[in-house]
Symmetry: D2
Subunit: 351 residues, 4 copies
Amino acid sequence: MSGNVFGVLFRVTTWGESHGPAVGAVVEGCPPAIPLSEQDIQGELRRRRPGGLPSASPRKEEDRVEILSGIFEGRTTGTPISLLIRNKDADSGAYEALKMVFRPGHGDYSYTQKYGFRDHRGGGRASARETAARVAAGAIAKKVIGQVGMSVKAYTLELGGIRAENLEMDQVEKNPYYCPDSQAALLMEKKLSEAGQAGDSLGGIVEILVCGCPAGLGEPVFDKIDADLAKALMSIGSVKGVEIGAGFGAARMTGSVCNDPLTPSGFPTNNAGGILAGITNGADLILRVACKPIPSIRKEQQTINLEGEAVRLSIQGRHDVSVIPRIIPVCEAMVSLVLADHFLRQKAVQL
Amino acid sequence: MSGNVFGVLFRVTTWGESHGPAVGAVVEGCPPAIPLSEQDIQGELRRRRPGGLPSASPRKEEDRVEILSGIFEGRTTGTPISLLIRNKDADSGAYEALKMVFRPGHGDYSYTQKYGFRDHRGGGRASARETAARVAAGAIAKKVIGQVGMSVKAYTLELGGIRAENLEMDQVEKNPYYCPDSQAALLMEKKLSEAGQAGDSLGGIVEILVCGCPAGLGEPVFDKIDADLAKALMSIGSVKGVEIGAGFGAARMTGSVCNDPLTPSGFPTNNAGGILAGITNGADLILRVACKPIPSIRKEQQTINLEGEAVRLSIQGRHDVSVIPRIIPVCEAMVSLVLADHFLRQKAVQL
Amino acid sequence: MSGNVFGVLFRVTTWGESHGPAVGAVVEGCPPAIPLSEQDIQGELRRRRPGGLPSASPRKEEDRVEILSGIFEGRTTGTPISLLIRNKDADSGAYEALKMVFRPGHGDYSYTQKYGFRDHRGGGRASARETAARVAAGAIAKKVIGQVGMSVKAYTLELGGIRAENLEMDQVEKNPYYCPDSQAALLMEKKLSEAGQAGDSLGGIVEILVCGCPAGLGEPVFDKIDADLAKALMSIGSVKGVEIGAGFGAARMTGSVCNDPLTPSGFPTNNAGGILAGITNGADLILRVACKPIPSIRKEQQTINLEGEAVRLSIQGRHDVSVIPRIIPVCEAMVSLVLADHFLRQKAVQL
Amino acid sequence: MSGNVFGVLFRVTTWGESHGPAVGAVVEGCPPAIPLSEQDIQGELRRRRPGGLPSASPRKEEDRVEILSGIFEGRTTGTPISLLIRNKDADSGAYEALKMVFRPGHGDYSYTQKYGFRDHRGGGRASARETAARVAAGAIAKKVIGQVGMSVKAYTLELGGIRAENLEMDQVEKNPYYCPDSQAALLMEKKLSEAGQAGDSLGGIVEILVCGCPAGLGEPVFDKIDADLAKALMSIGSVKGVEIGAGFGAARMTGSVCNDPLTPSGFPTNNAGGILAGITNGADLILRVACKPIPSIRKEQQTINLEGEAVRLSIQGRHDVSVIPRIIPVCEAMVSLVLADHFLRQKAVQL
């Protein structure tokens, strides 16, 4: 009811505020006998951490995960897996200056409208800190779907208007922007640096590629797999659009162009992005999400204070210039959660 | 579990196959004392029906809805509302010719992979016929949110590459394409006619505008209102992309441009599309969906038969050339269902 | 949320009021390929109907069920099964006399307190008429579990203080009280007749026996199968107690007596009633429910009217003298729903 | 799906195994602004601990709870409350001797049947240790319902055949058996001591009294409050029966005796146990649960080993002689969870 739960059979509940003692997740429905260690999860959490890059905030966070249940002798048991990540570097003071003003582009105003007062608690759950719990739970989902040959890879397709044109997947982990085009990555770095110096921020597009996805995942009518993927990705802060396969491009195609032919050796094209009528067709899944620029900028902005009076605001402190690349593992986590859930649901349908 | 239910507090379960005796819906959680008659629902169903337009199929369907429960003396009682729409014109014979072949762009292949055999039943639920139940249930949701001043209006922003440039809302119901630009509507008609004669089909973009939406709707973390809207719209057949406010355009903006300033008199811009951090901010909601072209075309296509052998296919019969405009009331229904549900959820949060 | 749904994987939603046009149910999650006809359901509905017996009301109801979806060529398809039963004999007039008074032992007072006014609608859903939908849905569950060898049989263990001592299962369907002791059945008939003449009513105990139940059904912690069975049975109007196996008798046993020994050939005793730690153990399930006497009696009672003033009330009209035997098929339906659901859940656990 | 979640609006998810690092719970839907400290929860956990009494096991457990989220400045915030209780005294060795044999009356056999192998993990979740998480979550529910004047009190009505006849509520916390009859408590102590010396165990009956419960709680049809209470209580290990108000006694009453009259000053009797048609009527709620004797006994028993061969078993180690009194706070917790949930649901109905 209150929006802290995701999934049906493979289900995650997250909890925790950015400035409380910890964040965490409970993962239910994970099949038994899957090898799982804290290191598996730690690896994904590390990818989410800022790394001293132009695009990253200097907040240091060890993000050490502790598995509290559901594992016996290095394998899952089928019972709920409880994950705990202590908060270490929570400096509430930095937010004092913003207490009396609504930051443009942030949830300050909408949360205040929702809860009837300036909502420190909501801010707590709305914080990007919450995504640590998603990434930790997503790491388990990744292990599950990895067991049956699925891989999920997100990467930067566009950042600040710079487009990756030459997609080489082996480049993705070799630059700090998870960009498959190493040349574009250099341009992105420059663009981020310039925007940061100008006290501004940048948006971009992340593409997610799922390989090895079996055909048949997704449920008719409301729980089509593209519907659940769209929800999963749109639930990440900053995401303003989701498309699958040809996406918005399909709106300008004719049927004879858009339809992917079937041949004895498979689909030669993939405008469908691997999904037909809400069910996977065995081709790779291709999704893209549009990320808006980070709303916290040093550049002066027009806003109002709690009394509704016009004020000018320049947000100080060290903020990321773009949600890219830190949103990359979060996108992978959310897609992995959907796939693990629908994989189990499809198993159940086959009864 | 099986994907036939949508919503949490305002919840709809749909049932029925295109070639069975009926389709219908059960609506749970509708607040009591709301005036509701079969005519309210019939009006929405009429908008979904084909109307002899170039874009429409000639299949005649009366689509008379019967309310079987939940109403007393013209008002809702708070108990489940059961809706029944008999199927009248179901000619299964037309599909016989397609029995042994997978239609490109359709769910034929993915459903077969899912259920292990050529799935007439899945086809039944995957049929656009199912959307009659959505529209009927959505009509009730529309009444509910209408009681508190919300209105939902979908219209054609683009069809076959023709863009509505001059948006005049009073034009929307005056042309068969629900296009707010009457000049563009004429061009769309021409384009549809040409594509139909060529045995091809067209895609387009539908925009949905929600006026009067109160601030504060949506739940933190996974059930953000944009996440639920994305799921709702992506669950409609043919939809390949969803965006909110500036959408994919936001990916190329800087923060100083994208952030909507707050002023004592409101938001002068609406790049956020009325949603910040997953919670409505009181501005209009603006969403867009990308619709792919209808996959059933007369033009010859390459495909395979059930034995996996290459065959050529030309789909005969009278099919719509575009899901626009018939998808328009379906978009409105799905958005209304999300708003009614989150309106009730917000009420519950305020306990 | 609103209490109209039961089950997780095999799930039923009921709808309809006693004095509206119809009652019905939507059954989701029924596995495909199970033979199912309206006759299967009709047979169960017939058992629920009054039959001119001393214990039954003369209200005539054809209770013809119509299957509106989910069946193709006589078999289930896996899609939602919609069931419709029209109301035919709804004489609201009979209730006019009771409009201004709270009937003792009825939901009149509690519903008024819940909804803030004298609740005709709540009365509608609280009516025993709603159990027709349960029985119809339960008939489908019975078919499902019958496929894997389970049978569910309810019978009268006690009525008006008369206890069936000599349990012969082949007698159950041979007398109108579903009593396995034919001698006791005669005494029950006499007792019912006397109570009816005295303007009073009787309670009793129904026992439910499940044969062929595989070991392993039930989920740890909250969804133990005995927990779900208790909820299922306690949700039937008139039921004030549920016990399993030795039940309340176990409270007076020592461990050495209560523990059922395990032997190479099975369990020689069954104090557990077939359930250990919330999981079935392969023995027969044995449950008992305590039914209170029907509260509508001709005998004068003390009550209050809507203004809270003391009044005397004698309820006229022809009412059943006991919920037994009409509650028998309802008990079987509810137990069958739980078993079908947990059977599917166990299948899903085995992934 | 997997049975680790209880409740709809006030919802608890428990996790953790008896021999893992910790157990815990996540409580969702707790209303904001309720004062809550770790001490509130600690007090309830202390009541669940063994206390050196004849009936208690000597296993020492500090059971210190840590609140990890959802609290700000001593009050709830409305976000999920995460509770952590580390396991300290987990001696797996004691169970080695039982590895190859099925203990009568335990879940050993049914869990093995369910999961296909001797289930240490299931044992982990099936352990009474899990009830620490229930009691911790229940303490929060108790605070919530305490805010609106409800109190939940469980006490021993019967133990080893000794019945409390003279119920004085102020005696309940004055003896280690939570028995409202101080004379009976002495007899119970003697009986426990004798049974313990004989290597046997005892069952009993716990009564739960809810005072201050407002009228109107419960939902029609399946989620009647008695149905949910029955499920809640039957989900506790050892419980074999649940009854409400007159319970099984009602089966032998006539309607004229069983019906509680309504008078201008309330209900002079309470055979209904405070619930009519599944909705509370404003009277006290009265429930009783039958607890079977603890199955782990020193007395030799007949059973089989993993190979299915007949063996004799005498269970060594120090086990409780009865689940009473340690089950008392667990009963209170489960009833409190149901009341908190239905209190919020009733609030939501009133929209």
